[in-house]
Structure formats: structure tokens, C-alpha cells
């Protein structure tokens, strides 16, 4: 108990999503720093306010949407004072005063008072039967009204109003939606999408009166009707005002904290009084107020970081996306879609399919998107919007979405909402939609990382990430943002891959512990995700200087072979350009016999794979292969793998150039190089393209007049044809450009980011400029590549087989005879 006395006191006003999320993150970051007291005016634990609409519609119960039970508060040592109102903040004595006059002292105060529904100042607004749509009590009143009454009027045709109207309609009421403007959800939708939405809601039986201004609410003991400015009257037993929300900052204002439209906070979520923080709908940050949940979570994270005294994170605003939570209606909107002279629009409209898509571009970047009917690509557009990707290279196909960008591999094609529970979402781990939905609801998951951890979906190859995100949005009801704007490398840090690279270069950091110390890593030695990444960045930044950290290498790279499911390894010797000799084949056959290697298989990269080698046999296997002149094929490496070739002009009657010879030259020059992810090359001797060069990381297609260089293709998780980079006349130029391109990728790619993903992120034009157009820059890149090759082109197999490097990897520490 002595411990408790020494803790600082944190008081939280508001038991809603923003406040409690802050507390949750804080408990994770600094579990013992504060003694926490939470005041909540509602008589419940913390619930998911966004899901009130499905509760109203009868699709979920109040229990379904509870986020933190009272037990949770108890388990975490938090004092929850529910149903207690704070009357005053006494900043002089650092105390809050409850309605009963009790004074509670604080060292740090967090205001998360949320917002109130705007009640229009109409005559009759206080009549029984006139309500807002904000909390569980409002929902209960609406549900009750729906059992006793027939006619409902919802004032407000925005997100909240339509969800309320839909819910009441599902409960059997006749619902009329009254909207001041002529477009529904005008803040999220343009006229066309608003029209499509109206049409499909009308088909479900909703009635609209718009544009219309409400003049008075009629009735004496209870509401009986509504009168409009044009004199028309509508009978109504229930009137729901859903015209907007207003930040609730009365308490803060009374305490003398600076407020405008909300409580004004800094980038660290502090008010003008540094001891007092504020998060959520009650705050105004950089002139913006937010009413969606994703920004609140971003704010909560920054605020918790600061409260935990890890003050490096700042909040710099959020871009938000919206999805309407009306079952069966697919609608997505994000960013800025108001027309403007500096903006361009791409519009696709297919009225009979009920599909409408509008993408708004400014300066080659997506700034807004409105999707109706087919929202599968919503998260994909949103990601590009937040990342500020240059999309000019895919502009002509942009409106058709990711699935039509040649990116037709194992990714989302069907609307998640229409899938049955048995539909398999994650093919790697065999996870079905129903399993994911169940985990999200039962375990109260909010983020893609949570879903990965609990279900394994999207945790292997990641190609179903988009689908899982959709399941998440579908289950939670929408506006959960797909991914944070800047993705941290892993849970060990809040810093991104780019941050780590920059810090390594700017500060001349040369070891993993130095980087972790400099960047305030949260764990002592990182994890299996960040350590290999840092090891790569250091290796790529300081060639010849950095000492490769074997313990930060994945096992395959550490022992230069590929681990198999039974713990044995596979061995792939290099075959330059896919060319071999009788002597090499004999040596391989002899090795297979000598070591009882169970499987010998030809790989997709024109080489031979020896599978099922015991770990302790590896050095001897390598030794025999070395003796026949063969070296490691790096089939395990995040580095150059294979250069696939066709026979070219040497044999083929169609061949235009010596593709085999060029392939061998490329491989001899580039083998041993480490890259962010694997790199596969191919050289085809003519446009018939037998080496399949146009789905490789880098592909050369020989033509009569020279060499076409293509890159950024893929034929694995995703199928993607290459982008054309340039055409040159000589082999020397081909080699120079490919090496320069690879070097640029080495310097810019994030660890495990394939070349096509890198190209997607930084843009084709930017890459072409640096490796094709700017010749001085190309030569500089080339010489940096050549420099680092001096240190990487020694056969790791020979080092281990002949010189005893890492001998301890291949021998047991001890062999015990146990009784």
C-alpha cells in the first residue's frame, strides 16, 4: 500500500471511448505510474458508442457493445465512479469537485467529456417524445417509443440521422427523414452518391422531405407533429434530432481553460494548463474537431505516451474515412471531395449495377474518394490518400481499384458483407470469416494487429489484409481507420522504418544496441521483427564497416539454407543464369547419394534443390559442392536469388541477343548482395519472353535494337506485370541501370518490402528520374552498389565448410546419455 501512496494521481473525467482508450494505452506503457480515478456520468462501464445504431436496429444488444466491464476497472486498480458528475475543476488546489461537493485531488487531469447532440432551438423542443441520439438511454427511449407509437420524424439527413432512421424503421415505425439540404450526408457524399443512397433507402420504405426547414414541433403533453417553413405539417409520435454534435467543454471553460469550438489542445494533447490533458470529441486540435473514432484513438495514443513520460509522440491531425452503418448499403467516403480548380476527378458510374466511384486527385495524389455500391477498394484508396502516394503511373486504371491493377493475386474480390461465415479469408492459416467476426466481437478487438494476434488471419503472407480490414470494419461498424498514418516498425517502437534509416545515417549509428538506445526502443533486445530490419539497414548503410549480427538474422540466412517443416534444411547451389554442366550434375548426384538426401527437385528459378538435409550434414554437403565449383545459391536470402534466362541468340532461331550470356553477367556481378526483400531477375532473348521476365523484380527483354529494362513485377502473393523502365542499346548500360536501380531499392526499400511495393510507394516517375534520366545520379548509385559488392561476394558455404565459421551452429553443445 505504501506503493500506492507514492503514485501520482490521474483523474479522468469521462468514461467514454477516448478517455478509456487513453487509460488502456497508458496501462500498457506505464502500468504503475498512476493511481487512476475515472468519473462517468452514465450508469454503465465503457461501451462502444459507434455501435448504438446496430443496437437500435436490433442487430446487437447493449451487452454486445460493452468494451470494459466493471471487473476490468477493478482488475486494473482503477476507481470507477459511475453516475457521478463533476461540477467544477479547481485548478488552484488541483482538485475536481463532484456534484455532491466531494473534492478529489489530481496530479494530472484528463478531460474526455465528449460531445452533446445539438438540439435545435425550436418551439416544442422540450416536449416528451423529442430526443437526441447519443447514448444508451436515448436508444432505450427510441426502442420504447417504437413499441407504443407509429410515426417517427428524424431531423437531419447525416450519418447519425440516417442510422437512427434505419433503426426505427427496422423496429416497425414509419420514418420520415427531414433534411435542410438537397443532398443526404452532404459532408461525406457528393450529389450523385447522395442520390443513389436516397434511392436505395426509399426502396426500403424510408420517406424523405428535403430540402426542408423545420419550423416548430407540435403538441401539448407529448409531441404530435412537426411543422415546416412551407406550412406543411407531418404527424409524429417521436422526433429524433440528429443534426450534429457539439463538443462538451462547459466544465473546461468554467475552469478558465482556453476553448474555441472545443477545448484547445497542443500536439501533445495538453490544454493551456500543462497538467490538464483533453482527448476526444471535446477537443479542438489545429482548428479541427473530430466526431469519428479513429482520430480519437490516435489522440489517445499520443496522450497516453505523454502521460507515461515517453514524450516523443505528437498528434498532427487525422484524415478520416466514413462508412454508413446501414446493413446492405455499401458506402465509403474519405478526404476532401469538394470541387476545386486545382483538383481533377475520375468518375465511374454504372447506374444499373448501382455502382458509383469518384476519385479526386490533386498534384498526382489522391485527396478524396467517394464510393457507393462497391466499396471493396475503400481501404486501398484511403491508404494511398494517407500516404500521399504519387498515383500517376496507375491513373488510367485507378478507378477500377486494386483488384484491377494487375494486382490480381489472392486479395479481396468479393464484398465481405455478402460472404458466408464459412468463407475462408486467410488461405495461409485457414481462417474463416465467422472465426474472425467471433474473435472481434468476443475479444473486443479493434485493430488489424489484434485480429492477427488472436486469429492468425493475415499474419503469414498478408495478402488477405485488405479483406480482414473489411471484416473488421464490417463487424465494428465502420470508421476504424485501416492503418496508422505512419506505421511503426513493430510493437517495440513507435518509429517507422524510414525514421530508423534516417537516424542511422544522420547520427552515424553502427550497432543495433546503439540504434535502439538512441531511438528509445521499448524492449531490451527488440524482437524477431525489428532486429533483422535494423541489421539490414545497418548493413546497407555501412558496407564493409558494419559487422553483420548473426543473432539478428532469420535462421535461413544465419545457416545459409532453408529450414523445412521437420527441422531439416534444403540446399540450392547457384547455377549461373540457369546453366549447368555434366560435372556439376554428377557432383549433385553424388552428394544426394552420399548424404541420403531424400528429395531432389528442380526449382522455379532454374536450379536444383536438395531437400531434407540434416543440419549437422550441411558443412560436409557444402564442402563437396564447393569442390565441384559450386557456391551458395542464396535461395534463402533477402538478396539476389536467381537470374532466369532463355537460350537466346546462341541457339534459338528467334533470339535477338545473347540472353543467357547477359543473365550470367548480371548474376556474377550482383550475387551476394543483400536487399530489403528477395530479388529475382530474368533475361529473355526476344519478346516471346520465354524467361517470363515481365513478372520479375527486374526483367530484361532483348529486342533487335537493344534491351528493354522492366521492373517491379511479381508472381507470388500478387500477380503483377512489370513496369517499363527504359530501353538501352548495350549490355554495359543494362548492367549499370539494373545495378543502380537495385541500389536505390536497397537504400529506400523498407525491410521485407518487395520491389513492386516499393515502386508503388515512391512512384515510378521518381525512380525513373533517379536511375535513368539523371545520369550522374545513376553512376553514383552504381558505384555505391559496386562498392558494397566488394564485401558481400564471398561464398558463405566455403567459409563454413572450409574455414569453420559458426561451427557451433552445426554441432550440438553436448550429447547426454540419460538413464
Amino acid at each position: 500500500m505504501l506503493n500506492k501512496v507514492n503514485k501520482q494521481k490521474l483523474v479522468v473525467i469521462g468514461n467514454g471511448m477516448a478517455g478509456i482508450r487513453t487509460v488502456e494505452v497508458l496501462l500498457d506503457r506505464a502500468p504503475d505510474l498512476y493511481e487512476i480515478t475515472v468519473f462517468g456520468s452514465e450508469p454503465y462501464g465503457n461501451y462502444n458508442r459507434i455501435l448504438l445504431s446496430p443496437v437500435l436496429a436490433g442487430e446487437k444488444t447493449v451487452n454486445d457493445i460493452m468494451l470494459n466491464t466493471e471487473q476490468w476497472y477493478e482488475d486494473n486498480g482503477i476507481t470507477l465512479r459511475k453516475g457521478e458528475m463533476i461540477e467544477m475543476i479547481d485548478r488552484r488546489t488541483c482538485e475536481v469537485v463532484t456534484a455532491d461537493g466531494a473534492r478529489v485531488p489530481y496530479d494530472r487531469l484528463l478531460i474526455a467529456t465528449g460531445s452533446n447532440p445539438i438540439m435545435l432551438p425550436l418551439p416544442g423542443k422540450d416536449l416528451p417524445g423529442v430526443i437526441g441520439f447519443r447514448d444508451i438511454q436515448d436508444v432505450e427511449r427510441m426502442v420504447q417509443a417504437s413499441t407504443n407509437y407509429r410515426n417517427a420524424v428524424v431531423i437531419g439527413g447525416g450519418l447519425l440521422g440516417l442510422e437512427a432512421a434505419n433503426g426505427l424503421m427496422k423496429r416497425g415505425m414509419n420514418v420520415t427523414v427531414v433534411h435542410l439540404l438537397d443532398t443526404l450526408m452532404e459532408r461525406q457524399l457528393d450529389q450523385v452518391a447522395g442520390g443513389l443512397l436516397r434511392k436505395s433507402l426509399e426502396e426500403r420504405g424510408m420517406v424523405f422531405k428535403m430540402p426542408a426547414q423545420t419550423e416548430a414541433i407540435l403538441g401539448t403533453d407529448r409531441v404530435t407533429g412537426v411543422r415546416f417553413a412551407d406550412g406543411e405539417e407531418l404527424p409524429a409520435d417521436l422526433v429524433v434530432m440528429a443534426v450534429g454534435i457539439r463538443p462538451n467543454f462547459e466544465l473546461a471553460r468554467k475552469a478558465g481553460l482556453y476553448c474555441e469550438r472545443g477545448i484547445v489542445v497542443s500536439d501533445t494533447m495538453q490544454t493551456y494548463d500543462g497538467r490538464i490533458y483533453a482527448v476526444g470529441e471535446c477537443v479542438q486540435h489545429r482548428r479541427q474537431t473530430y466526431g469519428l473514432v479513429a482520430p480519437l484513438f490516435d489522440q489517445a495514443k499520443v496522450c497516453a505516451n505523454h502521460l507515461a513520460m515517453k514524450g516523443f509522440a505528437t498528434y498532427d491531425g487525422s484524415v478520416v474515412s466514413t462508412k454508413l452503418k446501414v446493413t446492405g448499403i455499401d458506402l465509403f467516403s474519405a478526404g476532401d471531395f469538394a470541387p476545386g480548380a486545382d483538383k481533377e476527378e475520375i468518375v465511374m458510374q454504372d447506374a444499373s449495377r448501382g455502382v458509383y466511384k469518384r476519385i479526386i486527385l490533386r498534384d498526382k495524389k489522391i485527396v478524396g474518394a467517394v464510393l457507393y455500391g462497391d466499396t471493396i477498394d475503400g481501404p486501398w484508396y484511403f491508404q494511398h490518400l494517407r500516404d500521399g502516394t504519387d498515383v500517376s503511373h496507375m491513373r488510367e486504371r485507378l478507378v477500377f481499384g486494386a483488384a484491377n491493377l494487375g494486382d490480381g493475386g489472392h486479395s479481396g474480390k468479393n464484398s465481405v458483407a455478402a460472404m458466408s461465415d464459412e468463407t475462408e479469408i486467410c488461405g495461409c492459416n485457414g481462417v474463416c470469416k465467422g472465426t474472425i467476426v467471433k474473435a472481434i466481437s468476443e475479444k473486443k478487438l479493434f485493430t488489424i494487429d489484434d485480429v492477427r494476434a488472436h486469429t492468425k488471419a493475415s499474419s503469414s503472407c498478408g495478402s488477405c489484409t485488405g479483406l480482414v480490414e473489411q471484416v473488421l470494419a464490417f463487424t465494428l461498424g465502420g470508421d476504424y481507420s485501416a492503418a496508422p498514418k505512419v506505421k511503426p516498425m513493430c510493437a517495440c517502437t513507435d518509429h517507422s522504418h524510414d525514421d530508423a534509416r534516417r537516424v542511422i545515417i544522420e547520427n552515424g549509428l553502427k550497432t543495433i544496441p546503439d540504434v535502439m538506445k538512441f531511438m528509445d526502443w521499448k524492449t531490451a533486445n527488440g524482437c524477431h521483427s525489428c532486429r533483422p530490419a535494423l541489421n539490414y539497414y545497418l548493413l546497407a548503410t555501412w558496407p564493409g564497416e558494419y559487422r553483420d549480427d548473426q543473432q539478428s538474422r532469420y535462421i535461413n540466412e544465419r545457416v545459409h539454407a532453408n529450414i523445412q517443416k521437420d527441422g531439416t534444411y534444403s540446399v540450392v547451389p547457384r547455377m549461373w543464369g540457369g546453366v549447368t554442366t555434366p560435372d556439376e550434375l554428377r557432383a549433385i548426384a553424388d552428394v544426394a547419394d552420399k548424404f541420403n538426401i531424400p528429395t531432389v527437385k528442380v526449382t522455379g528459378g532454374q536450379r536444383i534443390d536438395l531437400l531434407g538435409v540434416k543440419k549437422e550434414d550441411l558443412p560436409a554437403v557444402w564442402s563437396d559442392l564447393n569442390k565441384a565449383g559450386m557456391v551458395s545459391g542464396h535461395a534463402y536470402a533477402k538478396g539476389l536469388r536467381t537470374v532466369k534466362t532463355c537460350v537466346g541468340s546462341e541457339w534459338c532461331r528467334f533470339g535477338t541477343q545473347d540472353s543467357t550470356g547477359l543473365g550470367v553477367k548480371l548474376e556474377k556481378f550482383m550475387w551476394g548482395s543483400w536487399t530489403p526483400a528477395k530479388v529475382k531477375l530474368a533475361v529473355s532473348g526476344c519478346p516471346r519472353n520465354c524467361a517470363e521476365a515481365t513478372c520479375k523484380d527486374v526483367g530484361v527483354v532483348c529486342v533487335d535494337s537493344g534491351y528493354e529494362i522492366h521492373f517491379a513485377g511479381a508472381a507470388g502473393l500478387h500477380i503483377k506485370g512489370t513496369e517499363f523502365l527504359t530501353k538501352v542499346a548495350t549490355e554495359e548500360e543494362t548492367l549499370e541501370i539494373i545495378a543502380a536501380l537495385t541500389q536505390l531499392y536497397r537504400e529506400q526499400g523498407w525491410y521485407l518490402e518487395r520491389m513492386y511495393k516499393w515502386c508503388d510507394r515512391v512512384g515510378l516517375d521518381a525512380i525513373r528520374k533517379q536511375v535513368v534520366d539523371d545520369i550522374a545520379n545513376r553512376k553514383a548509385l552504381f558505384s555505391r552498389f559496386a562498392h558494397s559488392q566488394q564485401f558481400s561476394q564471398s561464398d558463405p558455404w566455403a567459409a563454413r565448410a572450409e574455414r569453420g565459421v559458426d561451427r557451433n551452429e552445426f554441432t550440438p553443445l553436448a550429447e547426454l546419455e540419460l538413464a
Binding site: S459, N525, Q550, Q551, K565, N808, P812, A814, L816
Partner: protein, 111 residues
């Protein structure tokens, strides 16, 4: 009574790495952390039997090389939300010598 067997020196195990001890009842992975603590586990991941000795060691955990299950070195239990447990064996380090007490079915009390 704990039966200690000498298996080698601390220096034989790389920092943040591991070595294998062969026994008649299967391999045991012996890990060394960054602050020179030594732990031993059955060299089988509770998930699909992956060799934990081949994983990346971080803090007091190891990540299985097959499917990235993270296992606590001290207890052998998988880090939540993953579930499962592999057998842990007591170790001690004295004057740079590593000692192992192999737990067999007989030495582990039945649950």
C-alpha cells in the same frame, strides 16, 4: 533431488543465441540472453514442433522459426494470445560452467 549435468561453458553459447543438447528423449535447446542468463526448453514448439533452438532470441523469449510463435524462455509457455507450452528444464551457471537438470516424465510431477 535435482540431478545437475555439466553441459559446457557459457562462452559456448552465443549471446542472444542457443545451442542444442542431444538426449535420448529428444533435443533440448539451451538459450543465452543478453544479460547472460541461461534457459533450457525442449527443442519443440508447442504449435507444430518447430525447433526453437533455431529461433531469434529477444529479451527472455524466443520466436519459433516456423510460424513465429513466441515462447517464454523461463516457463516454456507461448506468449498470449497464442496458447501452448513446451517443457522447461532448470539450468544454472557457476564459474562460467553451464549445468542442466533434465526433466523427464518421471521428474515432472503429474498434473
Amino acid at each position: 533431488m535435482t540431478k545437475w549435468i555439466e553441459i559446457g561453458t557459457l562462452n559456448d553459447i552465443p549471446v542472444l543465441g542457443s545451442r542444442v543438447v542431444r538426449t535420448a528423449s529428444g533435443d533440448i535447446a539451451v538459450f543465452r540472453t543478453s544479460d547472460d542468463e541461461v534457459f533450457a526448453l525442449d527443442d519443440r514448439c508447442p504449435h507444430k514442433g518447430g525447433p526453437l533452438s533455431q529461433g531469434i532470441v529477444h529479451n527472455k523469449r524466443v520466436t519459433c522459426p516456423l510460424h513465429n510463435f513466441v515462447i517464454e524462455l523461463k516457463s516454456g509457455t507461448a506468449v498470449a494470445p497464442d496458447e501452448g507450452c513446451t517443457r522447461a528444464h532448470p539450468t544454472k551457471v557457476e564459474n562460467g560452467i553451464v549445468w542442466l537438470s533434465v526433466q523427464t516424465a518421471a521428474t515432472v510431477p503429474a498434473e
